[in-house]
């Protein structure tokens, strides 16, 4: 017998909670996203393709995705190291550092944007150092990269930390009793256990970076085809009242987001099946 849509239950509040949930979800999230998809549908796949298939748009999408990928990869490596150090080691200031990891989450993007620019511009503390060796950071793709690293930093660390905390010491000890060196143990026993969480964090960091606007827009330089990110392109189209074009690019970005979301869910399903947990 097929499971009913909703099990009858003496719990109160079904009508009210379901009503509020579905109404607000529709109003705030589903209808607006639906409007975007509808706009794209009315534009037609041919129209969307025609808009997206211009050099400037491709360049922006490609730039956003490529730099986000590099930033997320950096955060993958650094995030795992960070999580390991925060969970396993004891040193003065550890608590402070742990709290600092959340800063990119808590700091508004515009604030991050202008301060990163101030830091890495040729007049800034780091920028002037780099300038001396001829390395321009702000207003180049390097600047965008650093901003994207900043916003994605907490994702991997925060998803991996709980997993490290739950590693049974006995498993590490078992590996040692079987003759494995510490490095071998880290590579073959510990790292695989962290991989699903690390990959989830990676995908989250990637998704965040691709859509990032505020932290990047100041440091980017915004030169079309060189340092122009996709979200900026949408805004430019809107300012010129090219709603169709804006919708087309928006849908392209939405598809990337959905693909990443799907990837995350698949990772979690796969990992649950394989090792019984995420």
């Amino acid at each position: 017998m097929k499971a009913p849509l909703i099990h009858r239950s003496p719990m109160p509040g079904l009508g009210l909670s379901m009503g509020i949930t579905l109404t607000m979800l529709s109003l705030v999230v589903l209808i607006p996203i639906g409007a975007l998809l509808l706009k794209g549908a009315s534009y037609g796949p041919a129209g969307i393709w025609e808009t997206v298939n211009r050099p400037r748009v491709w360049a922006a999408l490609f730039l956003s995705f490529r730099l986000s990928l590099v930033a997320a990869l950096f955060n993958l490596v650094f995030g795992v190291l960070l999580a390991w150090v925060l969970v396993r080691y004891r040193f003065p200031g550890r608590r402070l550092l742990d709290a600092a990891v959340d800063l990119p989450f808590a700091l508004p993007t515009a604030v991050a944007g202008i301060s990163l620019t101030a830091l890495y511009a040729p007049t800034g503390a780091f920028g002037s150092l780099a300038d001396q060796i001829g390395w321009k950071i702000a207003y180049t793709q390097w600047g965008i990269l650093i901003a994207l690293i900043f916003v994605g930093l907490p994702f991997v660390a925060r998803t991996v930390q709980p997993v490290i905390e739950e590693i049974e010491r006995e498993v590490e000890e078992a590996s040692a009793t079987l003759g494995a060196s510490r490095l071998y143990t880290l590579r073959h026993v510990i790292l695989p256990m962290l991989m699903p969480a690390a990959l989830t964090g990676f995908a989250l960091a990637l998704a965040r970076a691709v859509g990032e606007y505020g932290s990047v827009i100041f440091i980017a330089g915004n030169i079309p085809l060189v340092t122009e990110i996709a979200p900026l392109l949408i805004i430019i189209q809107l300012e010129e009242f090219n709603y169709d074009a804006a919708a087309a690019i928006g849908i392209a970005m939405l598809l990337i987001s959905f693909a990443l979301l799907l990837a995350i869910n698949l990772i979690q399903v796969w990992s649950r099946r394989r090792i019984g947990h995420v």
Binding site: V171, A176, L178, Y184, P192, R274
Partner: protein
């Protein structure tokens, strides 16, 4: 391998876990460390395996001071209470782990590793589960895999921490016999920790009864099961065995 424990003691900070104990274990014996929780038996086992460092005293393997040997160097097959199988590896890879972890020079070729793993799977009477994952096994099966994994490295001794603890009575009985068989087949010096006196008495050649106290765990009596039953050395032993 003949093991000698020479005045080993262990303190964790201010807490005394083990009062200085001394013990001689003949080669090839099946020994039970029997006692209630807090008697220091697991601590003693872990010291033998190199997972803890004694506060004082020495451990001798075949007459040689082994106290300074690292865990990796000891080649003590250790079966943990929770089995500690590698969840992300198949049973085959778990058992093969110790062999694959050896440095390139001493690592056996893949065919040899496969042969040994197959033999061990036969020994633990689970020939078909090589490609399964630990999460797909029952408790009893996991215990046997943990045993096979420890045996794969050709250890000098076998150390088991409450090997039958989390299993139901019927499975326990089967595994007890299994451990006895494996011990007789391999001839390894085997030491297991338990709080179950039936288990200790039934399985072991030599029983070491331990008790806990403020100044750490201590050995109450060492002897063959029938001797301990007939002549308990103290009130504690008498009460513990009778319980």
């Amino acid at each position: 391998m003949h093991i000698e424990i020479d005045a080993i003691s262990k303190s964790f900070g201010a807490t005394a876990a083990l009062h200085p104990v001394s013990l001689a274990i003949p080669s090839g014996a099946l020994v039970a460390l029997l006692g209630p929780s807090g008697s220091g038996k697991t601590t003693l086992l872990r010291i033998l395996g190199g997972l803890e460092y004694p506060t004082s005293g020495r451990v001798l393997f075949d007459g040689q001071d082994a106290t300074g040997l690292t865990v990796q160097q000891r080649r003590a097959g250790f079966v943990f209470q929770s089995y500690a199988l590698f969840r992300h590896m198949t049973v085959f890879d778990n058992i093969a782990y110790g062999l694959n972890a050896r440095p390139r020079g001493t690592r056996p070729p893949k065919a040899e590793v496969a042969r040994r793993v197959t033999n061990l799977l036969d020994l633990i009477q689970l020939p078909d589960i090589g490609s399964r994952y630990p999460s797909q096994l029952s408790g009893g099966q996991r215990q046997r895999v943990a045993l096979a994994r420890a045996l794969a490295i050709e250890p000098r001794m076998l150390l088991l921490d409450e090997p039958f603890g989390a299993l139901d009575a019927k499975v326990r009985k089967e595994l007890r016999q299994g451990l006895r068989d494996i011990h007789d087949t391999t001839g390894l010096t085997t030491i297991f920790v338990t709080h179950d006196q039936d288990e200790a008495m039934e399985l072991a050649d030599l029983v070491v009864v331990m008790s806990g106290s403020q100044s750490g765990g201590r050995i109450e009596q060492i002897g063959k099961p029938q001797d301990i039953r007939a002549r308990p050395a103290s009130a504690f032993v008498r009460d513990f065995i009778a319980a």
